[in-house]
């Protein structure tokens, strides 16, 4: 009886596990519910989220996301939905790893169609959208300039200084702020490293003295053992060396702590500063939604 119960439990257990909805199942249900309610924007976003989950065919979900965002545009006439759909197409193309050339071309066609629809919308409605101006002209590509205190402002700031300063007759400390701060950080880092190295040298010296004291006491112990005991003068000398050894040991411990702290801080200050300015620099970046690299040129 007990065995049959256990057997039935073992047989039932996997079916209970398999019938439990996965997070992807739940997300798909949400997306489909939005579609049923003709809430296409929400459906598109829900499919987009689903595409990032495990246990799904990513590109199929991205296709559904695109279809729904495009539907949101068609039903609302708001180009931001089509812009979002275009983003999905571009992201899918950027993902790559297509099953074949046909699938890659399919997505390229979708992207081209989105761009064409945006251009047609701009011309027809005289509305600017994410890619085209009111007359259907392509908007200039906006390059996001990364803030970099090492280089300073990318665009010249509005010049509100006194004319004398503007003309260069008087030094303008404001413009040097960033460089001064960087210089101060580097100087502090270098100074701390210098102090740390000096402290390390002292530490090595103290440890050497301590070792010599230990060796001296060891020799005195051996001599005393051979002579059958310490003489009065030998005992006094031994006690003095022992007291000195305790002092040097304490000094070594203190210097060790100081050395570690100054060296670590100094190195951290030197390392954490921005890399030296170069004419050409590649900065990798990454995040939840992907990664890439930024090529920066200095003119």
């Amino acid at each position: 009886m007990l065995a049959s119960l256990a057997l039935s439990f073992m047989l039932v257990q996997p079916s209970v596990e398999s019938s439990r909805p996965t997070p992807a199942d739940a997300q798909r249900a949400v997306a489909e519910a939005h579609v049923a309610q003709r809430a296409y924007e929400e459906a598109g976003e829900a499919y987009l989220k689903l595409a990032s989950m495990s246990g799904v065919v990513r590109r199929d979900e991205l296709d559904q996301a695109h279809v729904n965002l495009d539907s949101a545009y068609l039903t609302s006439n708001l180009t931001r939905h089509l812009c979002r759909a275009l983003q999905v197409a571009e992201m899918t193309i950027a993902d790559g790893k297509f099953e074949g050339e046909q699938e890659e071309k399919f997505w390229q066609d979708i992207r081209d169609d989105d761009v064409r629809h945006l251009r047609e919308d701009a011309r027809a409605t005289k509305r600017q959208n994410c890619r085209f101006g009111p007359d259907g002209e392509s908007l200039k590509v906006a390059v996001a300039l990364l803030p970099d205190p090492e280089i300073g402002p990318q665009t010249p700031p509005l010049d509100l200084r006194e004319p004398a300063i503007r003309a260069g007759a008087v030094d303008a400390p404001v413009q040097r702020g960033s460089a001064d701060r960087r210089w101060r950080v580097q100087t502090a880092g270098a100074a701390l490293v210098g102090v740390g190295i000096g402290s390390l040298g002292l530490l090595i010296g103290v440890i050497t003295v301590n070792r010599r004291q230990a060796q001296a006491m060891e020799r005195m112990n051996e001599d005393a053992a051979a002579a059958g005991g310490f003489s009065t003068a030998g005992l006094v000398q031994h006690d003095r060396i022992y007291a000195d050894a305790r002092l040097t040991r304490s000094a070594a411990i203190g210097l060790g702590v100081v050395t570690a702290a100054t060296l670590l801080t100094g190195v951290a200050l030197l390392v954490s500063r921005k890399r030296a300015t170069r004419a050409v620099a590649v900065y990798p970046y990454g995040g939840l939604h992907g990664g890439g690299a930024t090529l920066r040129l200095r003119f």
């Binding site: 579609v35 003709r38 296409y40 296709d63 279809v67 495009d70 539907s71 068609l74 039903t75 006439n77 099953e99 050339e101 046909q102 699938e103 071309k105 399919f106 066609d109 979708i110 169609d113």
Partner: protein
């Protein structure tokens, strides 16, 4: 749209493609309700099969449904929807 399947199959034969489920997306123009685009999922728009399917679907003149983009699956177990 299931009635179009024999004609879609002709397209399939002409394009020398395997018989397997194909999803056709029909995009309707919001204002006119006319067919704006016919796509076959995962296949190039210039592919012979897509162009053939485009003609078949446009000739059939399906009415715009609840959604501005309708998807139909051919050669599946359910024979399209």
């Amino acid at each position: 749209m299931a009635s179009l399947e024999p004609r879609i199959e002709v397209c399939l034969t002409r394009a020398s493609l395997d018989r397997k489920p194909y999803t056709v997306q029909v995009r309707f123009a919001a204002v006119t309700g006319e067919i704006d685009q016919v796509r076959v999922a995962k296949i190039d728009q210039q592919h012979d099969f897509t162009r053939c399917v485009d003609q078949v679907v446009r000739r059939a003149r399906p009415a715009i449904g609840e959604s501005p983009i309708e998807s139909f699956t051919f050669f599946s177990v359910n024979n399209g929807r």
